[in-house]
Symmetry: C2
Subunit: 455 residues, 2 copies
């Protein structure tokens, strides 16, 4: 290297600090303050400028949050916060799809502030409108923390995998469900029991339905789909089911067959789609995951996302899916990107990887098109002929059974659990079989269907 | 959202195509051409402009590479390639730490072209000099493909985890070694046997020493260390050992104790360091990885990198560590970043996360400071007193033994394998014990030490 003369970077003047206004001082908001204080020096080195919190806003000024708020300006009113002259970036950590969070986001953009948010519900419902507005105003809008906590998966898709057509996207997107399922697996306990423990420990909300019914995972999936496939966010079309009907017996059956059960969000483009045009298939559903799949080893509140690119192959991003530290890490990563200037003034740097106006409007693809193997579990009356009735319905619908287990239920006398795994076939055939069985007096409960995740 | 008026992005003129010159048309170079052709439309949407290959250069113009080179200009001479007026980015895929690759990189920067390279050896040896030059010239230099193939781990560290002090960084960085180790594990076969198969299949080079002795992993580790810890690249100080001495019996012992064996590259800051200042500890060594650790499930030629941030917690990036498609995916991701403009004109956007002039010069930390558990395997003569000699040395050096297995070797009559796992203690104690045993007539071969990866 002797020929390379000893160049050094020409001295440049320091860039002014990037000034942050923070709305919402719950655990994540307090985490962001702690992070910005703790790592101030290294953040300034990496961002090329200091990142300073100028002002904060929350409901109660005097609540003890374990942090000293005296260095920061206080606003009682979020509208005033977004309008301050001494602010470059508004960080929205208020939460809720609509209401104050949305008003704040709108005001931030209207005042030409960059917007950083961790609000998955708001992005899933209003992200396109907000992005159109932000792009028109030329201000960056970033939401890494809205999906999968501290894992930089939005960056991974938007930039790291940008050279690829994504063929399939799937992952574990809700830490509460994963905690419950992996605890059921480790302990053999039932859903309600583990949920109660999770609530007592603060891992699950008092009203857990948002998590356990799959809504939260569906919000995240719809955001990732837009980035991966260049389609408009379509949360309403995510085929969503939760984990509340999973029995300890299902987990035991899955285990004996070589699987764990995980709540999987998955999306892919269906070339047959609807009406001859490609369609977008999005689903949140508990799946059976083979022991040798990386997602089978994701335990506790961890999240993990797999993107399959046509050149990259399978990329896996894994880490803490929630918590104040990891979420703050993602929020501040977005702020550092803005401080570095990655987002400023580049028309191509569009919010969802491409400009929002260019996202395609892809119709939802029907699930019946999909080919796969399924786990189907029935709870039936313990009397002769029931198994014949079920297997006849399968035959008539063209569902081929790979394995079947029938087992008495200790906890419910007179009831029997029948669990089967199908050979690969169209999902429409399984639906048809269940339709044939609808209303049958033999069924003590609606059947539970879970897809088997392919490798 | 009714109050948000229907803003749409103002129409803007198209940006000119980004023009690429590509040097080196091996499997990766051909992969880049295929990728840019196959995904041209979506790359243009995401980059906000077309990415076009203007000219290529390789040794043999007429070799059949399975791609049509007629659309591209041809240069016989890489110096001419770097000087072309119709080129914005030079992609170096020639390989080799010095020689033509380095000359090309230097010429590209000298002609104010952006530089994208997959060359880990060149970056490990000359990356600081090249980066200083690129930063002074104000041109981006990117090398995502140099580490862990298609996995966007450099981006993940440089940007995704930018808010964090990284406490530890470790991972599986060499696909050839991981293929060999996981095949030994699956089949019970010996190292030499599996290596020969890997060579026959093209997974290992005819001269495999670069991979199996850990040099390739050490190159990658030294690059990641610089980004994670803000230190100057220090490849020479990586404490490197390879996998060639691992026996099928080691893998069997590890399995019986609840571990797999993986070649791990790891780096961390040692606050005690040397001479009172913090030091950087970097090591490539086969490790015992507990079954319940995510890296224990990384099989075949897959790579995986874990970064532990002080707020993010453990982040895992996993995917294909080599191959034309994945490597091309990383090369083109860098090109798309440049096309989007992320790299242009921002002084803070430094090559190794901070400007190269600001990287600290951290002395290597001695391994003896580290606390950990170790697996130590001896091959000894099968005669009385040998075990007493070994255990006495352990006692005298203060090494506490957690478990010990002695086993006759079927393949070598008169030799016995003694494998032990230590309790947690300083590595210096293990070194001292081995020093006490040095030259002992009881040892038929030098002992093999592998650290146990903590959770």
């Amino acid at each position: 290297m002797a020929e390379i003369s000893a160049h050094t970077a020409a001295p440049k003047g320091p860039r002014p600090p990037l000034r942050i206004a923070l709305a919402g001082l719950g655990t994540v908001g307090a985490g962001v303050i702690r992070l910005v204080e703790t790592n101030a020096a290294l953040i300034a080195r990496r961002a090329g400028r200091a990142i300073v919190v100028t002002a904060v806003c929350a409901r109660d000024r005097h609540k003890d949050r374990g942090i000293d708020l005296s260095p920061y300006g206080w606003e009682d009113d979020m509208t005033a916060l977004a309008a301050r002259d001494d602010v470059d970036v508004v960080v929205e950590l208020v939460g809720g799809a609509d209401g104050p969070a949305l008003t704040l986001a709108r005001n931030a953009i209207a005042h030409n502030k960059a917007l950083v948010t961790a609000n998955k519900a708001m992005i899933a419902h209003h992200g396109l409108t907000l992005a159109a507005w932000a792009e028109a105003a030329g201000v960056p809008m970033r939401f890494e923390a809205a999906v999968a906590g501290g894992i930089p998966v939005i960056k991974g898709l938007r930039e790291g995998a940008a050279a690829n057509a994504i063929e399939r996207l799937y992952g574990i997107l809700n830490g509460t469900c994963n905690f419950i399922l992996s605890t059921m697996e480790d302990t053999g306990r039932d859903f309600a029991d583990v949920l109660a423990e999770a609530q007592a420990k603060g891992y699950a909300e008092a009203d857990p339905s948002f998590d356990i019914e799959g809504t939260d995972a569906a919000h995240k999936l719809s955001i990732l789909s837009a980035i991966a496939f260049g389609t408009r966010i379509d949360f309403a079309s995510v085929d969503t089911s939760g984990i509340s009907r999973i029995l300890a017996a299902d987990i035991a059956q899955a285990d004996s067959l070589g699987y764990v059960i995980r709540l999987i969000g998955m999306a892919e483009v269906d070339e047959r789609g609807s009406g001859g045009k490609p369609g977008l298939f999005q689903r949140v559903q508990p799946h059976l995951v083979p022991f040798d799949h990386p997602l089978a080893h994701v335990d506790g509140a961890t999240n993990a996302v797999v993107a399959e690119g046509n050149f990259s192959g399978r990329l896996l991003f894994q880490g803490a899916g929630a918590g104040d530290g990891p979420t703050a890490s993602a929020v501040v990563a977005d702020i550092i990107d803005i401080a570095r200037g990655y987002d400023a003034g580049f028309e191509a740097d569009a919010t969802f990887s491409i400009p929002v106006a260019d996202l395609t409007d892809m119709a939802p693809a029907p699930r019946g098109h999909r080919l796969g193997r399924a786990y189907i579990r029935f709870i039936v009356a313990d009397r002769p002929g029931v198994l014949a009735e079920i297997t006849a319905a399968m035959r008539d619908a063209g569902v081929s059974i790979e394995s079947l287990i029938q087992k008495g239920r200790a906890e419910e006398a007179g009831e029997v659990l029948v669990a089967m795994v199908t050979h690969e076939g169209p999902e429409s055939a399984v639906s048809e079989a269940l339709r044939l069985l609808e209303g049958s007096a033999s069924l003590a409960a609606p059947p539970l269907v879970m897809q088997i995740l392919g490798n």
